[in-house]
């Protein structure tokens, strides 16, 4: 029995656990730490897949992930948190218990949808796909259950991690996709960084409740 499957699945499971734990976290610092652990695990998964598939491109993906997502992004996020003094607990739009129940339901849906229709695909891809779809959906759930701009960004980044996990698990996927994912994260992060600062200039708080001002105005 080779180590390929168990290790790839174990790494995916750690990422899923991080994504799930994000749902229950009220503090930004903890959210960022969870995101960082998720990104480091993703790096390990990319290296492992590169080793298993003998793909040099996957090592490159892993390296990009390590530098940008596991090191630079958390540093920038932490700086934002300190700069705006956001260390206190943040408001959620939904009770934590309810969002965790929804999270479990989403994971169930992802597994039930993916496993039956991928019977013909390579086994490794199958479970990886189910795990990464779960991470994508959980990230989206984090985005919807938070009112705070920064935690929405973290939810989005977690979604990105899920996407990269799916991409590295695809057998022989051309490099175009991996490059573009890395690009997206980089650029998206820049955009988000700009936004977060600019929103701060105008609203004094990172709470997005103010976005409803658009609704109230006459349109």
């Amino acid at each position: 029995m080779t180590l390929t499957y168990p290790l790839a699945h174990a790494l995916g499971a750690v990422m899923l656990l991080c994504a799930f734990a994000m749902l229950s976290q009220r503090r930004l610092a903890a959210l960022i730490s969870l995101y960082q652990i998720e990104a480091i695990t993703l790096t390990a998964a990319a290296f492992w897949q590169g080793f298993a598939q003998h793909e040099i491109n996957l090592y490159l993906t892993g390296l990009i992930t390590l530098i940008i997502k596991a090191v630079l992004a958390p540093i920038a996020l932490r700086r934002i948190v300190h700069h705006f003094n956001l260390i206190r607990a943040v408001e959620t739009a939904m009770p934590v218990g309810l969002s965790m129940i929804l999270g479990v339901a989403l994971i169930g849906i992802a597994v039930l949808v993916v496993l039956p229709i991928t019977v013909n695909a390579v086994t490794l891809t199958r479970e990886d796909l189910a795990i990464s779809l779960s991470i994508v959906l959980l990230g989206l759930l984090v985005m919807t259950t938070r009112r705070n701009a920064l935690s929405q960004v973290i939810g989005f980044l977690s979604t990105e991690n899920g996407l990269v996990l799916a991409a590295i698990g695809m057998p022989g996927m051309p490099f175009v996709a991996e490059l573009s994912v890395a690009l997206l994260v980089l650029v998206a992060f820049l955009v988000v960084g700009v936004f977060v600062f600019r929103i701060r200039e105008h609203f004094d708080t990172l709470d997005l409740k103010g976005i409803e001002a658009i609704e109230r105005r006459g349109r």
Binding site: T118, A121, E160, A213, I214
Partner: protein, 484 residues
């Protein structure tokens, strides 16, 4: 290097150069020069469509020329816009603005010419980032809110589309082998029957919601009215119109994969019901919400949602005729809508600047008193949008309705209701906008030569709808038959 590659590369490479130009007016002129060049190259793509990753098929060529044309007229009108607005906003914002115009153009063309689902996705992603930056440029609180909303919704859409793209690859990989072939749109279409149908269905759901966000179909449309209303008008309204087409064409191509797989006895579900539901939802929701809009840019933004929905509805009906009608509808709508926004931008500029508040219907009413040419042109554009004859949209809407009666008779009722609601809501605004007594203190001002371009758009619409060159009819019906 093929013309298609050049048409994509030139605007993308020109963007950083234009960003270096400090004076807003010089920037606008440089923007125009590059756009003229790109327009000429889009015409040449006919002769040299490229090969491999960037390979323009006839659908891409036709919409590429349309995109080049819209970009050209927008760039001409943009000079007047910059002249009127340059006192607002720092030089740095104008630099970013012109760079984003070029990136928008380049990525739109990339989305049209790409023969690779990964590249298509990159194009849509790049356009979203450019548009988000563009919307945020006025730096008002509402513009930032709109940009944030756009970014969150667009980002989620992009994420879903990427997941769908990877699933498509996975569905194609057993039949086409690993590597680039399994991501090529033409290879996928040629081998649609051999794809893994069940996986393709899952992929299609993700792709539909992903690209549907960019096409502003109803449950995912929230960003569009805000983005249209808050950003710098030429970038976020006229220039982003062709981007809706990219998303719609992507949906059409993936729909074809599903349909062909279904027809060949594969496990894919029929894509029709998905598209029909989203299309009808878009149509009915805009029909209900148009009447309540007070801001012209939001109003016509909602009307774009209506027409996106109508095109998707036509694709959902299926069959060569309906798809022909849907494609022609997209072409005509893009022409009319960009003409309309160009007239609106000019009108708002004549009425004292293009700040968001100046686009209220109450502020723009009685345009005839400001300038009779502009007033009539604006009225003609709004009327053309309704879809009554002699507007070109009448032809396509007639085709879509008659095809619906033939193929899905029950759906013709909600379709008719939606069309009627939208038409009534739009017609109600023509009278006040053109003929009402203007706000106090309005004086007649010459409108400049820009009105001629608006008329040129409308003339093109009439020509395409009622006297389309036979070669184009042949090309479009060939495309429609190939994608049915």
């Amino acid at each position: 290097m093929s013309a298609a590659t050049l048409a994509i590369a030139i605007p993308l490479l020109a963007a950083p150069v234009i960003a270096l130009i400090g004076a807003p007016l010089t920037g606008a002129r440089a923007n125009l020069c590059v756009t003229v060049l790109v327009f000429l190259i889009t015409l040449a793509v006919f002769a040299s469509p490229g090969a491999g990753l960037i390979h323009a098929d006839s659908l891409g060529v036709i919409f590429g020329i349309l995109t080049g044309f819209i970009a050209l007229t927008t760039a001409v009108q943009n000079i007047a816009f910059v002249r009127a607005e340059q006192s607002h906003g720092s030089a740095r914002r104008w630099r970013v603005y012109h760079a984003m115009c070029q990136i928008m153009l380049g990525t739109t063309l990339m989305g049209l010419y790409a023969d690779n689902i990964g590249l298509l996705w990159v194009a849509v992603e790049g356009a979203t980032i450019a548009a988000t930056l563009g919307v945020s440029l006025p730096r008002t609180a509402t513009a930032l809110e709109a940009a944030w909303k756009y970014f969150v919704l667009g980002g989620v859409g992009i994420a879903l589309a990427l997941f769908g793209t990877m699933l498509t690859y996975l569905a194609a990989q057993p039949a086409l082998g690993p590597g680039l072939t399994a991501m090529s749109l033409s290879a996928l279409a040629a081998n649609a029957g051999h794809l893994d149908g069940a996986l393709m269905t899952l992929a299609f759901v993700f792709l539909l919601f992903g690209y549907g966000t960019k096409a502003a179909l109803v449950p995912l449309h929230g960003w569009l009215p805000d983005a249209y209303a808050e950003g710098p008008a030429p970038l976020t309204t006229t220039l982003s119109g062709p981007m809706l087409n990219v998303a719609l064409i992507a949906i059409l191509r993936f729909r074809h994969l599903m349909q062909a797989n279904f027809a060949a006895g594969g496990a894919a579900l029929q894509p029709g019901p998905f598209l029909l539901t989203l299309g009808l939802a878009s149509l009915l929701l805009t029909g209900l919400s148009l009447a309540r809009r007070r801001d012209a840019r939001r109003f016509f933004g909602f009307s774009s949602i209506e027409h996106s929905g109508l095109a998707v509805f036509a694709f959902g009906i299926g069959g060569a005729t309906a798809i022909f009608a849907g494609l022609l509808h997209m072409i005509l709508h893009t022409l009319i809508k960009s003409a309309l926004f160009q007239a609106l931008i000019r009108g708002a500029a004549l009425r004292g600047g293009g700040a968001p508040g100046n686009y209220g219907f109450s502020h723009l009413r009685g345009m005839l008193a400001t300038n009779k040419y502009l007033g009539w042109a604006l009225g003609a554009c709004v009327f053309a949008l309704v879809g009554l004859p002699p507007s070109g949209l009448f032809v396509t809407e007639f085709l879509i309705v008659s095809q619906t009666i033939q193929r899905a008779p029950l759906l013709s009722l909600p379709l008719g209701l939606g069309l009627l609601l939208c038409a009534v809501a739009i017609i109600r605004n023509i009278g006040p906008l053109v003929f009402d007594p203007p706000p106090a203190g309005t004086v007649a001002i010459p409108a400049g030569r820009g009105v001629g371009l608006v008329v040129l758009h409308l003339a093109a619409v009439l020509l395409l709808a009622f006297a389309m060159p036979p070669a184009l009819v042949l090309a479009l019906s060939g495309i429609a038959a190939g994608l049915q």
